[in-house]
Symmetry: C2
Subunit: 190 residues, 2 copies
């Protein structure tokens, strides 16, 4: 999506080790107009997959998942990384490595909000190695729900996430695809 | 705001110890249409305060802050509770007790996204004791920014947060005001 690609070109910064700094408009400061446009675009691309719920992971996935959910008129659930006291004792929990945190994190969903038979669209900020999204897929499956689509704002195609998700056989849509980050250069797929 | 009050009456649950469970539409599963209505309402109530930026705290503040920011056409910054590697080494940090977590949490903002002279509207999900919001006020002040308004979806008036913020002399707007929670009963202010 051109607006997102232009913004990354203008403000994104390569911090090395595959880390892209986009915290001026995606994951610390957020541009709500841009997030709304991204949500509209996901809604357009996924309008025909029959999703009944949007699923994401806190924290950075919340903004794009919320705007997508708004335009698709669906509820959104964000997997928690720490179990809050408002959640029942019996939960769905999976472990997933976090590249940017350098450790294993928990992803937790209450069975109250993900039921068997749901058709889930996963929306996140990044598709890198695919580890977080695979964690969300495991959570959905343990709830008896079916994942019917995956969307991410930014894909780092050089980290292999798309290949890791290919076996699911479902549509994967990303709005900005980065092929390479080299010094000050961020190079997008054509 | 009637839509929010009705939803709390229908789905909110008193878990005891002043804890209100609203994780079916605010802070685990989110109703994006309701959040959009709340954002519109905050935008209406705060349209004349001259805010230049919305400030909130991760995680549950993000949804209402984002929709408010969208309707006010302002950027939104969410204070992080753990410093991500994309943030510079020098940050604004404050400590605040978390009632629902039962421990002290950090609130961290990058100086890149909160500058002197900014006029800040704080939006959060709950106004209870006011501790988290006072933490955000300290962060804004240490950046040289001025807080010009405070909004929360749900106020628990029996926890004294409004009194704790009164010395700031700025508008405080909440969309559902709960006077008492007693067994299965959630009693709203008139």
């Amino acid at each position: 999506m051109q607006a997102l690609i232009e913004r990354i070109k203008k403000e994104g910064r390569n911090l090395g080790n595959g880390i892209l700094k986009v915290d001026g408009f995606i994951n610390h400061q957020v541009d709500p107009g841009l997030m709304d446009q991204c949500g509209q675009e996901f809604a357009r691309r996924f309008h025909a997959i029959g999703a009944t719920k949007i699923l994401t992971a806190e924290i950075s996935g919340i903004a794009p998942a919320l705007t997508t959910a708004f335009h698709m008129k669906l509820p959104v659930v964000y997997a928690r990384k720490h179990k809050p006291i408002t959640m029942p004792d019996q939960v769905f929990l999976t472990l997933t490595p976090s590249h940017t945190k350098g450790r294993i994190v928990e992803l937790i969903i209450s069975p109250e909000y993900l039921a068997g038979g749901e058709k889930v669209l996963i929306i996140d900020d990044f598709l890198a190695s695919g580890a977080t999204i695979l964690g969300l897929v495991r959570l959905a499956n343990s709830a008896g729900a079916q994942v019917v689509g995956i969307g991410a704002l930014v894909e780092k195609t050089f980290e292999g996430g798309r290949q890791a998700l290919q076996h699911l056989g479902i549509p994967i849509e990303t709005l900005a695809r980065i092929r390479q980050m080299d010094g000050d250069q961020i190079i997008f797929e054509d």
